[in-house]
Each structure stands twice: as structure tokens, then as C-alpha cells.
Symmetry: C2
Subunit: 301 residues, 2 copies
């Protein structure tokens, strides 16, 4: 049960190493990350990186242009037009989402102009699996025939239909919509701050995920009205600025690095989360759920 | 896809009702709750109910004495001795747990006395399934052969071994421990504030779940040190009092009611979460994961 401790004990006292004892201890997550090389990490494209500055700090979001190209293009246009500057986080619903946008979006006379961005976009709930780069992990999932990763984002797949889609794990960012499937345009965005609401998969358009600063969103006061809306505008969290990293001077960009998925190192990471060999674990588990696989993020330098 | 809208349209214009159209629309969660009767709800035993008062308000916890009797007995003794009064929430780790207890617990000279409570308890990670009252729901689970509910708590089961255990869903409360399986005594408790860390199942002793006030724990500032510990004691959230409801004057008790599990109403609730018939849903999902089944709580009167 505690292979590391056993290996150390044997190194001190065993005279004959058995085959089993000679095998190295299975790695923990910390071991896998310590053994990673520079090539195991990637720097997200600044064109796909958003910085949202709120009073607590900066939330860094990676966009998923191969998954939802129309929404990502619109979000880029809105960020370039400084659309969100001075808007706010409008609702924080416990164990669900934090959502931001224009509080007057439903009031034609008062809402902020979308500028060059499109008012209407197609729904982008799923895409063709062929050529997507989706790779499955070994996991039994409540919602999907297969789960894994796509461009570094948690995702799911139905091989019978040849489709893949992003999975609503903690930190996923999506585009809020009304009842019509094609009623989102990326101006109103949400981040998942609770247990994965996987029932949203294939019902709404995901656009990316939070890489850094999740704790700034997840620790916001919950709104007292239904769906976590605030009753008093003063309770909202103001957005100072929301920018594409590519529009920020290079000297001000954050050196964010994300562990690549689909590599031997990532395979070892998934296995280290499946079989828990940290000394604390009495039962090494032996199983993993998609949303419990971390995709590590670090700041270089 | 939108059976309610379809049924209304037919009521206005259809001359011949087909068998399918004549069936009532499948209920939503709101429909199930609206149709519930007084008998569908229970009042948790005041002997099993904790009130933890922190600056933001009161966190209400239901204990699970049939699952972890030794820990629950110790927690009752500690609450009766006002053990936690003036102690604090010591760590809040994003997407994981908020944990409270004595910051000096590791310092024999300074730690608070456990009084009549026991310093050492057996691990209570799982129990015999026979006679437990566990009832399964239809769900494919990443971690367990079966999942369902036990005494109103989310739980899992391995019929081959004849065991059941509580599942680490959002709001679960457990007893922190060191590396030894039997190193918890209930003096240090944690609540799950993020995506269900189901790898903790069968590795630690669960003692209950938060019924009300989760948002007071989940919105606390995350601690900056490893594991979410605070670096400055002033950052901790003080616990004013932690009491058993049975030790509070009856006039001051909260009229908390919990929907019974294992009833026809609860079966309908699970089904309403499995098949999403709210108008917003484009895809009705058709699947459910244990930790996405709510066990509703309300205040009577």
C-alpha cells in the first residue's frame, strides 16, 4: 500500500532484491512533474489568451479556436474593442458558474454596442472527431462513451456518431445563451466554479478554460437572487479590463506554460492520478474520472 | 426536444390526440418538488445536526451516525464541550476543501484539550451493505460498481464485497487525518467545496454533509500556502460557536427539512435530473452522475 516507504526500508535492510522490489516505485504526480522536460510544456498562443482584470487580480483564460471558431473570433473582436471594460460579473451561483457581461444586454436602448463583433453566431456544441486530435483516456464516464483531451482541454467523444465535444469540468469557460440554441454570441461568458455540470455538455458552446486565477472567481460572494444574480448592482464584481494577451505589450505578458496532453508524460500523469501512490492513500483507488485529471499550468522564469 | 411547448401547441390545434401526445409532459425538478407532499420531507434529528457560526452566517451540517458512529459520538462530545468555539477555518484549497480545527493541534503544549472526547478512533471508511438501507440509482460511475443514497447521503457500494461507503460529493464533511488510517478523531473537519474528490472515498472517514450555508464556506478566500493553508493567522475565518442543534433552545433551532431519498418522489427527482425537460435544454442528456443529483433542503414555515 505504501510502496515508497517499502522501497526505502528494503534499500536499508534487504540482502536479496526480488524482482518486484527491484522495480522503481510507481510515480506520484509530483514525480511526473519533476521528471518533465521543457518539451512537455507549451506556451498558449497570445491570440488565444485572455487576461481579465478584476479587483482580486488577473484571470487568465485559454480560448479553444479549433473547437468553437466562430465564438472565439467574436470574443477576439469584442476584447479588441474593449467591450468588457467597465462591465461586471453579474451572477455567481454556488456550485455552478460565475458569469460576466453587460447587465443591460436585454435592453436595446441601453446595451453596449457589439461593434465589429457579430450579434448572431451558429451553435458550436460539438465537432467532427476526425482530425480533431482527440485522444481518449481509460475512464468509465457517466455521460459519454469516451472521455479524454482535445488541444489540452478535457473533452468527450461518441465514436459511433464521430463527434467530440468539450466537457464541463471545473474552470471551463462557455458562452451563455437564451433558450434558442444559437442565441449566444460570446459577449456573455461563464466559468464553472463547482462540481462539473456535465449535463451542459452539448447544450451550450464552450470557448476555453481558466488557466490561472480560478480562485478569484470561485471565491466571489454568491448572488442572493435566483441563479446567483445580485440584487444590488453594487454587489457585482467590476471588470477593469479584458484583453487578448496579443494586445498587451510583450513585457507585460505572463509566462504561462501548460503541460501538453497526449504525450508520454501526460499519460504518466493520468496514471499517477489513477493509482495514488502518495503515502497518505490507504487505498490506491485505481480509477479516474475525467474532471479529476489536472492539466498543470505554471509560470515560467 | 421541448415536450412542454409541443404539448401546449397540440392542445390549441390538434384535433386527434395521438397516444404519445396524450401523455403528460415529463416532469422537471421544479415539477417534482411542487408535487411533493409533507411526507416526502424529514426533519433531521437535532442530535445529528450541527450549527457552525462564522462571520458570514450559520453553516448547518447533518451528521451520519449510522455510517461513522465513533466519529459522530466524538463530534457530539466535542461540540458539547464547546471545543471549536474560538478556533478557526485553517485552510481553504481551491476546488478541494475548507478545513477547520485547532491551529495548534500538533503542539502538545498549546493544543486545546479534547475533554471527554477520545483522542483515538477506528477508521470508519466503509461499512457492511447488509442492513444499511443503501439504494442504488441507475448511473455509470467512474469509481464504484454502484452508486446511490444511504440515509439521505450520496453513497457508493461494491456488492461483490458487500460494502457501502459515503461518496465525496460537494458538501460532504469528513474527518481530517494524518498518514495513519486511524489518525482522525473528528476534531479537525473538512467540507468539499469543489469537484467531487472521489479518490478520497474509502481513504478517509466521512461524518456528514452540509445542508445549508455551503456558500459561506465555498466563497472563503483561498489560502496562499500549499494545501490552501493561510500564512497569516489573521487570514483565518474564526468560528464563533459550533453547537449541536439539540443543545440550542428549541425556539432558536432552524426548521430545516430534507427531501427523503429512496421514495417514489425521489425516484422522480433523479429521473428529472437524468432527462432534462426544462425548455432550455436542446439535448435532454439522458444520463446522470451521482454528485449531480441534488438532495433538496428547505426551511419550513
Amino acid at each position: 500500500m505504501r510502496p515508497l516507504a517499502a522501497a526505502f526500508a528494503c534499500a536499508l535492510s534487504c540482502t536479496v532484491l526480488t524482482a518486484a522490489a527491484a522495480e522503481p516505485a510507481p510515480p506520484t504526480l509530483a514525480d511526473v512533474l519533476a521528471a518533465s522536460t521543457a518539451d512537455d510544456w507549451r506556451r498558449p498562443d497570445p491570440e488565444n489568451t485572455l487576461y481579465m482584470r478584476i479587483p482580486g487580480g488577473t484571470v487568465v483564460i485559454e480560448l479553444a479556436p479549433r473547437f468553437s471558431p466562430a465564438h472565439v473570433a467574436n470574443i477576439r473582436a469584442l476584447a479588441r474593442a474593449h467591450y468588457w471594460d467597465g462591465l461586471a460579473i453579474l451572477r455567481v451561483q454556488d456550485n455552478y458558474v460565475a458569469q460576466w457581461g453587460d447587465p443591460d444586454a436585454e435592453k436595446p436602448a441601453r446595451r453596449r454596442s457589439l461593434g465589429q463583433a457579430k450579434a448572431k453566431l451558429p451553435a458550436e456544441f460539438e465537432r467532427e472527431a476526425a482530425g480533431s486530435g482527440f485522444h481518449a483516456i481509460d475512464s468509465r464516464d457517466a455521460y459519454a462513451p469516451q472521455v479524454g483531451f482535445l488541444d489540452g482541454f478535457p473533452a468527450a467523444s461518441d465514436p459511433a456518431r464521430g463527434k467530440v465535444w468539450m466537457a464541463h469540468c471545473y474552470g471551463l469557460v462557455g458562452a451563455g445563451r437564451d433558450n434558442a440554441a444559437d442565441s449566444s454570441n460570446g459577449a456573455e461568458l461563464y466559468a464553472v466554479i463547482g462540481h462539473a455540470p456535465r449535463h451542459l455538455d452539448r447544450n451550450i458552446t464552450p470557448v476555453g478554460r481558466v488557466l490561472l486565477g480560478m480562485e478569484l472567481l470561485s471565491s466571489l460572494p454568491r448572488g442572493p437572487a435566483p441563479m446567483g444574480f445580485y440584487t444590488d448592482p453594487a454587489q457585482r464584481t467590476p471588470i477593469a479590463t479584458l484583453r487578448l494577451a496579443s494586445d498587451v505589450p510583450e513585457s507585460e505578458r505572463l509566462p504561462v506554460e501548460v503541460l501538453r496532453t497526449g504525450t508520454p508524460t501526460f499519460e504518466r500523469l493520468v496514471q499517477a492520478r489513477r493509482e495514488r501512490h502518495e503515502e497518505w492513500f490507504v487505498d490506491p483507488v485505481g480509477r479516474i474520472e475525467l474532471c479529476n485529471v489536472p492539466v498543470p499550468v505554471r509560470l515560467a522564469r
